[in-house]
């Protein structure tokens, strides 16, 4: 291979390259600082690296889409996904400022893994080749398995990591088998070439549908579609909350980005075959997620099932499979990043040291004791349930709009009914905070980094809601 080709269009991966170099620097610095208690320096460095990565993304933002070695592309959608993932990463670092000292760890490994996960997630959005997609999936999955078990003294954390790892490895197998079958069917790992072969009637047709089905299992696991969602509540609950916050948003954004691109670039000619099963999965996911969330008393489990339900809503965009639907999904994920990380941020503030979870009763009377914290949580909850004029409403609005335009009004109807159901459990938290009295002392595990994160996410949720047009223009679909 011509080595010049290696550098042509390498700017496509500039953000990933910046982060990868950054991770190496971070690990070196970690070794250098080992003797002293310098977790603040490491966190600052991690944030600097992620901000640099964001700068690199913005640098190539306006450029015309380019492709790198037939494996990665920098189009508007890839950049939107990068933005979401980087935001999740930055807040992940900020939110772990209290957690790491509490388990007496410096955090060099933690931050390195987190940034590695970010790299993998960003790659998912850019991949245009099944192999790159699989590598990206594994990069972030492996990092997340370790991060989930980072709280070694907490058996729940270990359980979460084991469960996530075993089931995740299993799902990866399905995924890679599906990719192999698609390769067999299309004669190539490149999305575009698979599409060309399949749409011209060539290739081995009998392998396509099994391939899609297996791929779907892999993706379904990563984005927690029902019935592949069983791990979600346990892992979300057991993993350290900052990790949960980061992973709930990052994984969702990355896996959906990969999912959307594969289905819409490589397999649009089979839309008739995969749309109906996905529609059924969307309905199941939304409904089961919401109905189960209704019954949770742990806030982290409630948010886990709520994230299952949100995955169902985003899946509607894939069923619609129009350009407008993908930009709606990008907007939804962007809004979801702020409101979901914010909600987990409040959980971090309220959970006791080393407990790693919060029961809903803990929110009783929060409105009187810590009004600003309660208002922030109320904003996140109302936004998650899709009440205007907050960010979450416009996410749902755009997705339902895309569904109606794709002649899927029935799916939009099920979607809005589901958001009405979801309002019940989100509202229960709001009711606990403002309508009930606190029973005991509420301990507040605050800190400048967390306060800053909560302030930024709250403001973002409101501002995105009030000026949705600005962001809808910025975030592109396929």
């Amino acid at each position: 291979m011509d080595t010049a080709l290696l550098f042509e269009n390498a700017t496509v991966l500039l953000p990933e390259i910046v982060l990868a170099v950054g991770v190496m620097v971070l690990m070196m610095v970690d070794i250098g600082l080992r003797k002293q208690n310098e977790s603040g320096t490491l966190a600052a460095l991690a944030i600097a690296i992620l901000v640099l990565g964001m700068g690199a993304s913005l640098l190539i933002w306006g450029r015309p889409p380019a492709e790198y070695l037939g494996g990665a592309v920098s189009d508007g959608f890839a950049l939107s996904v990068r933005l979401v993932v980087l935001i999740a990463g930055i807040f992940g670092v900020l939110l772990s400022r209290n957690f790491l000292p509490s388990i007496e760890r410096q955090g060099g490994a933690f931050y390195s893994l987190l940034i590695l996960a970010v790299i993998g997630m960003m790659l998912m959005g850019t991949a245009t080749n099944l192999i790159v997609l699989f590598i990206a999936l594994e990069i972030f999955s492996l990092a997340l398995y370790i991060l989930s078990g980072f709280h070694r003294e907490n058996p729940r954390s270990i359980e979460a990591a084991m469960k996530y790892f075993l089931l995740g490895a299993f799902a990866s197998t399905f995924f890679v088998y599906g990719a192999a079958l698609l390769y067999g069917a299309g004669g190539s790992t490149s999305y575009v070439q698979i599409h060309e072969t399949l749409s011209s009637g060539g290739g081995n047709r009998s392998l396509v549908l099994p391939g899609i089905a297996l791929l779907l299992v892999g993706f379904g696991f990563k984005v927690s579609l029902v019935p592949f969602h069983m791990w979600t509540p346990d892992v979300y609950q057991g993993a350290p909350t900052p990790v949960t916050a980061f992973m709930s948003v990052g994984t969702k954004a990355a896996a959906f980005a990969g999912f959307l691109r594969v289905m819409m670039v490589a397999l649009p000619s089979l839309y008739e075959q995969w749309a109906a099963p996905l529609a059924i999965l969307a309905v199941l996911t939304m409904t089961v997620g919401n109905l189960t969330a209704l019954r949770q008393s742990s806030v982290k489990r409630m948010l886990a099932y709520s994230s299952v339900a949100h995955a169902g809503t985003i899946l509607i965009a894939l069923v619609a499979a129009t350009p407008a639907a993908t930009s709606a999904a990008a907007f939804y994920l962007f809004a979801y990043a702020f409101m979901n990380i914010g909600a987990f941020g409040v959980v971090i503030v309220l959970e006791g040291r080393g407990e790693g979870d919060v029961e809903q009763d803990r929110f009783n009377g929060l409105g009187t004791r810590y009004p600003s914290l309660a208002v922030a949580m109320a904003v996140f909850m109302l936004s998650l349930s899709g009440i205007p004029p907050l960010a979450g409403f416009f996410g749902k609005f755009l997705i339902f709009k895309a569904a109606v335009e794709a002649d899927l009004a029935w799916l939009a109807v099920i979607g809005v009914l589901n958001s009405a159901i979801s309002a019940y459990y989100y509202l229960r938290v709001v009711a606990a905070m403002f309508f009930r009295e606190a029973e005991g002392e509420i301990t507040c595990n605050c800190g400048p980094a967390i306060n800053f994160s909560l302030a930024v996410t709250t403001i973002a949720v409101v501002v995105i809601g009030l000026q949705p047009g600005l962001w809808a223009d910025l975030l592109r679909g396929l």
Partner: protein
């Protein structure tokens, strides 16, 4: 600009109230903001033209990519509802300033926030903007009920929130479907483009469900007694006075102009539900032992009248319905205010705890009588004009409905007089009600009631002041409707309606 100022002035007030240092200052600022908003709303009147179209229009792109606009405008249908909102708010704030003890700043800020939401609903001409304000109005009200309500408040707040939220969920899909078919969210553009007949049926049902729950139309009324009874007094005043009008306003502003074909199909059904509501609400009100529940159920009956008028689909009835929305806001608002005043003194609302109050608190009883009479539709007071126009218009389209509606008028007089008799008349037996133990209204309270009562008489005697601004717009809505056989509305009826009303009125008064 004026309309934007109107919408966002209360919001600014809410923020200032939250950051004000002392309770006293919070109260003064909230009252000031409410009064200022009222004054701004009165600025609409000098430049008003008696035309059907939208006035004071503002239109900016909000989400340009999706053709969503920040589009505001006011016409004869919304004008008085806007003024009603801004008028009731200072009174509700004044009452709250006097009686709310617990975290008064948050309470007042939520009241002002609600004013912003409600004014937004009345003024929005873009379906998405409308939906945003519509849903947003739930949050402050649910918080007011849930935090400052009485014993069963959490249940009532959650029920109120979920019931109305679920009701409007399908409306969102209908709005999206309208956009998909026509490419616009703009009400006026949709009106001129026309909605395809096939879509009208489904979209109408989705909109009607949201509006019917808000009104509330029988059988969707079950949230109302809980919400009303549990809400704090000022909350009930705004809930009954303004929030219920969002539903009926929605019918007039959106359902009728956009879906005339579907409206023609469903008008009879909805009218029948309205009549059932009128009679059912009245009978249930009659059976209540709690004064506040009685007033709450009277709202079901009275709002039934408004819906009956709207779905008579002619100008008189629609004008009457719009005026009756204002009337109900005033009378029921005043009734809740007075129940609240009584409750603050006695901490009970059971009718059996009262009796003979005329001897101990005559000023209260005098106002109570006037307000009850206004609610019962006594000629010379505001309620009569609206009910009369509604019945007249309904008679024109379906005489039977008018006859059945009249039964409701009689029942209204019955339960209101029943309430008055139980409270004010009879023997003064309970020592807690004796003059020494039960102070009469003080000046502050009298000043909260006087403006409302004054308006009863103004509307009662000079309804044309109001109807002349309502009629052109109501006529325009009626003109959009499908022609019905044997219908005699249009030109002659248009000019006559206010005259007839006034003639009959003065005749009755003499």
């Amino acid at each position: 600009m004026l309309l934007s100022v109107l919408i966002f002035l209360p919001l600014a007030g809410a923020i200032i109230v939250l950051i004000a240092p002392s309770d006293g200052m919070k109260k003064a600022l909230a009252f000031g903001a409410a009064v200022a908003t009222f004054v701004v709303s009165l600025l609409l009147l000098p430049g008003w033209q008696d035309i059907a179209g939208m006035q004071f229009v503002e239109r900016y792109a909000w989400m340009p990519g999706l053709n969503i606009h920040y589009h505001l405008g006011v016409d004869g249908i919304s004008l008085w509802l806007v003024v009603l909102t801004t008028f009731l708010m200072p009174i509700a704030v004044a009452f709250s300033n006097q009686h709310v003890k617990q975290s008064v700043g948050g309470y007042l800020a939520l009241m002002l926030l609600m004013e912003t939401a409600v004014l937004g609903v009345f003024l929005a001409l873009d379906l998405v903007l409308f939906y945003v304000f519509w849903e947003f109005s739930l949050i402050p009200m649910a918080l007011l009920i849930g935090k400052w309500g009485s014993d069963n408040r959490v249940y009532a707040a959650v029920k109120f929130f979920l019931y109305t939220l679920a009701g409007s969920a399908l409306m969102l899909v209908a709005i999206l479907a309208l956009y998909f078919q026509t490419g616009t969210f703009d009400l006026l553009e949709l009106q001129s483009l026309g909605v395809p007949a096939g879509l009208q049926q489904v979209a109408f049902l989705a909109f009607a469900l949201a509006f019917a729950i808000k009104v509330p139309l029988f059988p969707f009324h079950t949230w109302l007694p809980d919400a009303h009874v549990e809400a704090p007094t000022a909350g009930s005043v705004i809930l009954a006075g303004v929030l219920l009008k969002l539903g009926t306003y929605g019918f007039v502003r959106f359902a009728l102009p956009l879906f005339p074909v579907a409206v023609a199909d469903y008008a009879s059904l909805i009218s029948i539900l309205a009549i059932v509501g009128i009679i059912y609400g009245a009978l249930v009100a009659l059976a209540q032992r709690d004064l506040k529940s009685l007033v709450a159920y009277s709202s079901v009956a009275h709002m039934g009248f408004v819906v009956l008028g709207i779905f008579a689909l002619n100008e008189q009835a629609i004008s009457g319905a719009v005026l009756q929305m204002v009337n109900h806001g005033l009378s029921t608002g005043a009734l809740f205010l007075m129940v609240g005043m009584l409750y603050e003194r006695r901490h009970t609302r059971l009718l059996s705890d009262f009796g003979g109050l005329w001897a101990s608190v005559p000023i209260f009883c005098f106002f109570f009588l006037v307000v009850a009479m206004s609610s019962a539709g006594l000629p010379g007071l505001n309620g009569f004009v609206g009910e009369f126009l509604i019945l007249l218009g309904t008679y024109k389209s379906t005489p039977l409905f008018a006859v059945l509606g009249t039964v409701g008028v009689i029942l209204a007089a019955w339960y209101l007089l029943h309430a008055f008799r139980k409270v004010a008349q009879g023997a003064l037996e309970n020592p807690a009600n004796f003059k020494e133990n039960l102070p009469d209204l003080n000046w502050k309270e009298i000043w909260q009631l006087v403006p409302i009562v004054a308006l009863f008489f103004v509307i009662g005697f000079a309804p044309n002041l109001f109807l002349s601004k309502i009629n052109p717009s109501a006529g325009a809505v009626a003109d959009l409707q499908m022609p019905v056989e044997g219908d005699t509305l249009t030109a002659d009826g248009q000019d006559l309606s206010p005259l007839i009303a006034e003639d009959e009125l003065s005749a009755a008064w003499r």
